[in-house]
Each structure stands twice: as C-alpha cells, then as structure tokens.
Symmetry: C2
Subunit: 332 residues, 2 copies
Amino acid sequence: MVKIKDVAEAAGVSTATVSRVLSNKPHVREEVKKRVMAVVKKLNYQPNRVAQSLRSNTSRIIALIVADIENPFFQRVSRAVDDAAQELGYNVILCNTDEDPIKEKKCLDLLRVENVAGIILSPTRKGIDNFTETYSLEKPIVMIDRHVSNFDVDNVLIDNVSSAYAIVSHLIEHGYKRIAGVFGAESTTGQERRQGFLKALKDNDIKPSQDLIKYSTPRENDGFNTALSLLQRNDRPDAIFTSNSLLASGTIRAIRESKLSIPNDIAIASFDDTSWAQLIDPALTVIEQPTYEIGRTAAELLIKRINDPSRSNREVVLKTKLVIRQSCGCSN
Amino acid sequence: MVKIKDVAEAAGVSTATVSRVLSNKPHVREEVKKRVMAVVKKLNYQPNRVAQSLRSNTSRIIALIVADIENPFFQRVSRAVDDAAQELGYNVILCNTDEDPIKEKKCLDLLRVENVAGIILSPTRKGIDNFTETYSLEKPIVMIDRHVSNFDVDNVLIDNVSSAYAIVSHLIEHGYKRIAGVFGAESTTGQERRQGFLKALKDNDIKPSQDLIKYSTPRENDGFNTALSLLQRNDRPDAIFTSNSLLASGTIRAIRESKLSIPNDIAIASFDDTSWAQLIDPALTVIEQPTYEIGRTAAELLIKRINDPSRSNREVVLKTKLVIRQSCGCSN
DNA sequence: AAATTAAATGTAAACGTTTACATTGTTGAC
DNA sequence: GTCAACAATGTAAACGTTTACATTTAATTT
C-alpha cells in the first residue's frame, strides 16, 4: 500500500506538501501541485482514512440509526441516505435498534468508538433521552421523522397531522362514519397522525369512539391481532386507518381472514406507499411519504453540517401526497 | 474522552499493561488485571477504534456489498448480517452497487481506504472480475448467493437448480404446459434457476419454447414489461415462473392489467417469499429462501475467518422451502 | 547460594496522516 | 541596499493505540 511518504519522495517534496496539495490548502506553487498530483495518479495513492481520522479526528463515515429496518419506510430512507452519502464520498454504517434500548445503547457505543462524522437518527419516543445521554451531541445529528426542538440538530420531517387529516377526511367523504384508527405505539409520528385523525373526525362532526382507537407496536403480526380484535366487535368499524404499512399489512390480512370485502364491508387507508399497495385488490389508498427525498435531504444536511459545524440548523418539512386507489371506496 | 494513558496512570501501571489486560494477553497478574479492569469500568474507558485500527491494521467494520438493496431478498439478508455483526461487536457498512460498475468501483475504493476487516459480497456476473482487480483478496471475503470456486473465499448458497426444479414441477403437476420463465439477467442465480426450470420441463416431456424464456433486469418495471409482452402473444403462456420477487411483482401487475385471472387464466409461481405474497389474492406460491439464515451464516463465517485467516474455507448450502399457496392453482 | 529460566512489567517505536512551527526564498517599500 | 512581510516548503510532533524489546522480579534448577 503506497503511502504519503512514497508520494513525497517520488515528487521530491515533503509529506507536508503532499498533504497540503491533497487537501487544497494554500501556499503551494501551481507547478508543485501539478507534479504531486501526477505522482499521486501514477502511484494510485489513496490516503489512509484511518490515519487521517486518527490525526484529524474526523471521518468519512456517517451512521444511520433506525428503529426498524423491516419497515419499508426506513428501507427507502436508508437507500437514499446511502446514495447521497456515496456521492459525497462518505460511507454509511447502518444501525438497527429494534426499539430495544439495550441494542440502542450497544449501537451508540459502537458508533462512538468508530468516530463517525455524524448521525442520522429516527428516534423512538424514549430513544431520545437514552441517546443524548450516551452521545452528548459531540457530533452533528440530523433527526428524521420526528421533530426535536430542544436540541441543536437539523430536522427532516413531514406534516403528519395534516397528512392524516387529509386521508381520513377522504374516508369520511365516502360516507364512512365508524372509522377506526390503528397507530404505531412508541413513536411520536403515531401520536401526530392520531391528532390529524381526530381533527378530521371532529371537523366532520363525528364523535370519535375510544374503542376504535388502537395502538400497536409497528409489526405486521401485532397489526393483525389488533385489527382482528376490531373486526370481531359487534359494532365493527366500517373503515380503518392505519398509521404505517406494517399495520396496514396486518390489518388487510385480518380483513381477509374475517372474510370481509374491501371496501364494501370495510374500507382501509394507510400511511406509507409500498411495493405491494397496488398489487393487492383493491389497491390500497395511501399517504405517500417522500421517503427517498427524506433520506437524501437528511444525508445532505448532515454532510453540510459536518463541513460547517457553525451552520445554523434548519427544519425541512417535506410534502406528502394522497394517493387515491380503491381500498377507500373510490372506483376504478 | 478518556484514553489508555489515563487508565494506566489511575491504575498505576503502564499503557502496555492496560493494553495487555484489555486484549486478554498473557503475562499479567490476576491482581493487576482486576485493578485495571476496575479503573476501566470506573472511567468508562473505551478504546479508540481508529487508533487500534491504525496500529494493528485491523478493524471492527465489515462491508456488505449488494447489487440491489430494493430487492427484499437483500433487505432480509442485510438485516441478518447486521444482527449477527452487532452481536459480535462489529459494525457493518452497506454498499449498494446497483449493478453499476462505476458505483461498484467507487464502493470498493471506499472500503479499501476504510480498512474494513472483511467483505460479504453478492457479486453480479461481471462484478467478480472488477472486484478482484480492485480488491486483490487482501481481506477475507464471503460470497453469498453465488458459487465462486476459483477464489479463496467462503460461500453461502442455496441450491437454485433443484429449487427451481421443484417449483416448476409443481406447476407442471397442475397440468400447465405452456410455462413461461422470466429470469433475472446479469446474475448467475438467474442462469441456475433457468437450468432447473428447463430440467423440470424436460423430465416431464415438455418441449421448452424459446419464446417463453425471457431475461429481465430484476426491476419491478422491467418485469412488468417483460410479462406484458408474454401475455400479449397469441399463444400466451398458461403459467409463468419468475426468478425473483421483483419480477413476480411486475408480472402480477401485468396480469392484472391484462384483465386475466390467476390461476384460472394464468398461474404464477416465483422465487422469494415476501411480505405481500400472502396479501395478494390468490396468495403467491413461492420458493422461500432462508434469507435471514443466509445473512447470519455469512456474517458468522466472515468473522470467524477474520479471527483465523488460515481457516480452510467452506461452502454452506442452505435449504429452500416450497411454499404452496394458491397462485399455482392449488385450492385453499 | 549462584545461575538459569520464566513471568511481569515498562519503555519507546511504530502505524500514516495532519499541522504547528521553523526555515528559506521572494517581493516590494523605504 | 536593507528590512519587513509574506509565500513556499520542510521538520517534527501529535493523534491513541499495539507490540518488539528491554528490564526487573520471581521461581526453579544446579
């Protein structure tokens, strides 16, 4: 492996000069610069990142911490983060916490010792405390999917309240009255989507029934069980809104199992577009989040901040889209 | 950040001794060991991985290189790799090459300079050359999803030929005669699954029609287009086998669009179980790969090899499972 | 009890960079 | 023509570990 010393010798300069050339520092003649670059190319020199990292206390690795990598939402986001990072010369370490505090702690410890340059985080509700405790904000952080105001971080968000409002209103327009909501427990997004849900009911003079508001860990199977319990009631709902695709999947399975027909017996609409949303029959009406853009924006914000730590932090709110298909009762 | 020197001072020993204690090297008294560990705990000392990495030329990061992270197969695998790695104290960098040689090159360069401890790779057909050129096998490698014999690597595989044989045979049992196959281009798994497909036809005295054998880049949309072209033929197939879930998804969409009914007008069966396979109606008959196990096995093999480079390499072939649902014509 | 060996520990070099500081060379002001 | 100021370059320390080698201490052999 060729090192900076080799380049320096071949170019007849000191290592300091080579370093200066490579990091575009001033005070080096154009002629020398050319010469060094030629050698670099000829020897195919690539700086040792580990050494760079040790000396300069920086790195070209960012971390992405998600609670559930099984969730298509995070998969898309992670893909986007990866793309953006790679373009900008960064690697990304992916950490999956499974909403498990122990795993989360382990994950944060790993990151700390690896000296990552920054973190993109989608915190669970309790996560955030655990997090700042261990991590103490030494490094730039971008929060996605959740608003955090009391910390010095960037945010990439969507408007959960109004998005939920829009899709639930759409259900209401179809005449559904007994609309159930299944929300992800543990996350603030679930909370916000519930708010939008309630507001839509209220604005349409529908009195929400507590019995029809459920919380479920965002896993397919839990969604299934929750939905099943809703469907087995005497006064079962005539429509269900689910706050993410895992819950939607479980709910649809429960509806199938109950031999009910969508949307005649029961309508369904959900947050998050997925690969299978238009594969099922009837196709699923959803709020489509700009997942790819969320990830990309987060990565870009993070790297900008890494390069300029004094940058004021910002909150980017991205637009969602109501994608109307047939599960809500719309025809065609 | 507390460093080894701090620990050494607090424990009244030299840094060398602390290092020895921490890496379980011999030649240190039990009493001293205890004392050092106590200090380590008290100060919450955590070795700086970057420094360790620089000095010892090792690291606790492994890389997972996949061609398409949108593919549910790789998502599951990556999840498993992540889990196993984390348990063993490793971080994983995920690289997505998108089958794009340029991206792949970039990715490998990034890895080289980050000094990863090893690589788990699912190479595309041409990938492998590109790969060894850049990477020159300095570090341990585990190949997944593809057999590579001429290199000193471990392999984690499934038996593609016999799996495809099994599922296609099942279609044949239902009486389908004009069975089309849509295979992933660029990958050897596609090739092998085609072999199994052909063998099943042959063993049942069905003459394969070249017109019904298609190759498609493994993307949903390409699968859609490929399937559409098959369905628009006068002599359209009465069953379709797809060699992965992305192609299956596209194919199902095409079937829907053509207003054909599954399995009456046309049956379908595919490689790869996914979240939506039992969500669609009729549910999809598939070959289920032990994706999680593949990832976990790969990670474990890799880390074992990292710790013992002289270990003889092995090839692990995992079993698949034919999951019979209704899209093949089975009832209930 | 001296000599030999082995165990325990310490000292300092090394890993490949970046960078503070020192040195030399050049330019322009007076 | 001297001096100041600055540009260009070099020297060497520093980053936080591991580890070869040296040293001290203890155990064993003679």
